[in-house]
Symmetry: C2
Subunit: 385 residues, 2 copies
């Protein structure tokens, strides 16, 4: 479905590809421009008459716009299905929920697998390096095109949380509230290191073809699978892995070979091989690069609070998970300290869980309750419902 | 240099390749036998007249026998050079120090790159899967062949510490003391997961050739480098990475590409590429497999203390590092609890450091002092010096 005009206020479940004309390029932090820009997006619920109930949900590294609807490739439920529905924190009966595929992605938004209009070939490595701010700039173009002046909330976990923070820095006047879950204001050396392993795994695959694999009719599936496996470990906690798998075997006894003996090996291999069915390897390179480049304070003389000075009227909710070692609670505390320093109204909670970073996808009742409570309070303040 | 007879008591720095006849195979846990067995080893100092001053140092996953002598490939000092020398914890003037390359290794001990006498070709994947107990059994053969009845100490960090524990379980009557540093009595699900990523990276490299790369005249260098990069992150702490590298750039400004922008990327790439010069990819598969299979309690009905019941007369020193997340202190505490349960005399210390698992290679004064103190006390008890 393609929607090019003002959004239909009565669509229950909508979305499609928003196409900006070549005359409206996306200006990138690198200095390059991307045109024509297409944005793949999904919507849930309807925009109210005042256009005050729009919620933007930002996805994480490996996510996409299929927030709460069946994924067209995997056939699985949306990645945050459990948060969206009547009576849930994101309620299509009350909110107009928007989720866009990020720039550089591979699910409908312009990315390295898209056709470069100048050449008629996939961009590949000629795609410009993008940043979190570029992703947000593209979202802002879409929101404006939809005729929405102010978002009731920008919400995201992990890379989605970084986008939410970037919204607060770049477009504070366009947002009412921000929920930032399990994120950080800048990528640490260890975060960069893990991403570099993944990129090297992809680029080591001869089927990567210097990034031009689509033209060659192949895909660096093995390299991308290894990258996903390495990353996936960082999404879980040691305790969760131990609880789920321990040293449990696949079969009775050891194989005395290199088959998957342990259940955790088999699980990880599955994570790798299933990922390559739905994700583009070059997108993985570009999005991890955007994450590594992310350092919100850098544009403000290294003082994170300065990034939020214009966001004093925005209400923030910052959440972390106690067992998240990818974006540990200390990173969220740094964000909260900066928000407080800037005089922003900020709620913060560390949710006790052994599920690690991926807890924000999982059944974590305190997360539901906290989101429900924060968004409910903001809805009252905003005069919604 | 090859030494086949009883060891020369007057050699200052010795070593070579110990060749066992085919009639003395190494019996493996898998049920297979390895013959003829060769063991690459180094010695420092001289065996005393009572043959009571021998210390066996066991190396870690990527180590070898070049404990305190220039590495023949890299030209770098031995991996524990700082611990070996006059007045140091391991003193060639007082100790006869032995370090052997493990079975499955690639520095002189029989491993997958060795020629299989039955075929005249490198073993490759026809090499049998080996275990930590197999490594120790080979060391015990060497010690016996050297005419040494009792080792004054068996010492090791990481996989070396696991070998030291295995010595205590299998040959308690042949050892006087054990130092186990930054190790665990079994590999956790997370440990297995990281190793599986490394193995998949190697096996994804087309130059791996199903393990027969030597015959094909190629080497899976890219895959092995990725495996090493992923593993190397686990050897450091987040704090150490942040302190050493943070978000420091290689050059002024970002490249807006996929070159190594950040110093941590460049460092990690160097770790990967330099590793492939000195390590065999199949050895990496076999040794990581041995580590994953390691579960000392498994042979004792799951009760770790039972593994140490026969080691009541052995003195133990167990050390961990506070920032080691590969083999965290909790793993060492489990070992200590089991040793105490078995009635073994045990010293334990957690050394406060932000250097992570690799602290046992690094300048960590408390480690030096603790080793010096423990070995000094044991020397007195043993009537040495």
């Amino acid at each position: 479905m393609t929607a090019q005009g003002p959004i239909q206020a009565d669509i229950e479940v909508g979305g499609g590809t928003w196409r900006f004309p070549a005359s409206r390029p996306l200006r990138l932090d690198s200095g390059a421009q991307l045109a024509p820009l297409e944005i793949g997006y999904k919507t849930y619920g309807a925009l109210n008459a005042d256009r005050t109930n729009a919620v933007l949900v930002c996805h994480a590294l490996s996510g996409d716009q299929h927030l709460a609807s069946t994924h067209p490739i995997t056939g699985k439920p949306g990645w945050w299905d459990r948060f969206v529905g009547p009576g849930k924190p994101l309620d299509p009966e009350r909110h107009f929920i928007i989720c866009t595929n990020v720039v550089g992605g591979c699910m409908g938004t312009t990315g390295p697998a898209s056709i470069d209009a100048r050449t008629g070939q996939p961009y590949g490595l000629s795609f410009p390096v993008i940043t979190i701010a570029d992703m947000v700039r593209a979202q802002a173009m879409l929101i404006e095109a939809m005729g929405i002046e102010t978002l009731f909330a920008v919400i995201g976990g992990s890379m989605g949380g970084m986008q939410a923070l970037q919204w607060a820095a770049d477009y504070p006047e366009k947002i009412f509230s921000v929920v930032c879950i399990a994120a950080a204001a800048r990528h640490s050396a260890q975060n960069i290191a893990f991403h570099e392993v993944g990129r090297q795994a992809i680029m080591a695959d001869p089927n990567w073809c210097g990034g031009a694999y689509l033209a060659a009719g192949v895909r660096p599936e093995k390299g991308l699978a290894v990258a996903r496996m390495a990353a996936h470990i960082t999404y879980l906690s040691e305790a969760a892995l131990q609880r789920k798998f321990g040293r449990e075997l696949q079969r009775d006894g050891l194989s005395w070979g290199f088959d998957a003996d342990f259940q955790v090996e088999s699980y990880l291999r599955h994570q790798g091989t299933s990922f390559v069915d739905r994700f583009d390897a070059n997108s993985y390179l570009y999005i991890t690069r955007a994450l590594d480049y992310f350092d919100l304070a850098a544009g403000y003389g290294g003082v994170l609070a300065q990034a939020f000075v214009r966001a004093r009227d925005v209400k923030f909710c910052v959440l972390s998970f106690s067992s998240d070692w990818l974006y540990p609670t200390s990173e969220s505390r740094d964000i909260v300290r900066a928000l407080n320093g800037a005089g922003c109204r900020t709620s913060f909670a560390e949710i006790e869980t052994d599920k690690g970073h991926d807890a924000f996808f999982l059944d974590e009742p305190l997360l539901d309750a906290t989101l429900q409570g924060f968004l409910g309070a903001q809805a009252q303040a905003r005069g919604l419902s």
